[in-house]
Symmetry: C2
């Protein structure tokens, strides 16, 4: 029995800041060094480091030192936890999607 990974509020709090969400979207394309992210996002390096610290404390990213650069990558666990959590809300929209299906069908007919 896989103990469901607990979802932390901190995950949402960390992602609830625009620049941090952008950073996560960027890291979605693969690991990056701090400087690359700063340039790609048009944010000053210190801010990037600070946001990475927050993301790290939330467990969303991990670091690997390569030469004098630090490569950050997304950490799967919190995302898996989020997926599990939000999927448990599926009952919320599944019934409504039935009704919405009719609407979409009628649109397809047009």
């Amino acid at each position: 029995m896989t103990a469901a990974i607990a979802l932390d509020v901190g995950t949402f709090a960390a992602l609830g800041e625009p620049n941090r969400l952008r950073m996560v979207e960027l890291l979605r394309g693969g690991p990056r060094a701090v400087g690359e992210m700063a340039e790609a996002l048009g944010i000053r390096q210190p801010q990037v480091s600070k946001h990475l610290k927050v993301l790290g404390e939330a467990g969303l990213v991990s670091v690997e030192a390569v030469a004098r650069r630090r490569i950050y990558r997304l950490e799967p666990a919190p995302f898996a936890a989020m997926a599990h959590w939000v999927d448990s809300f599926e009952a919320l929209w599944s019934q409504r999607l039935d009704a919405m299906g009719d609407v979409l069908a009628s649109l397809d007919d047009a």
Copy 2:
């Protein structure tokens, strides 16, 4: 082709507050009036109303007036958007889960 519902940072920001997350978890069990939520969570009514306002502005809840009470319920759309978004990260952990599968298998053996 279903136009993917855009995920808003505000969704995370709204859920990134402990009491608001608790309120969402509570509403997960069905629609509730303000007073019920206040009592169930041990939060004063004005705070509940304020948090509901934030949740409403983020599109996470909707209201229905019944007599002199206001029934709040979860709104499916943002949760569906979150589910879609977080699922797009699946590639992140799917490979690692292969490796993790071996670990889990070895644990099962023990």
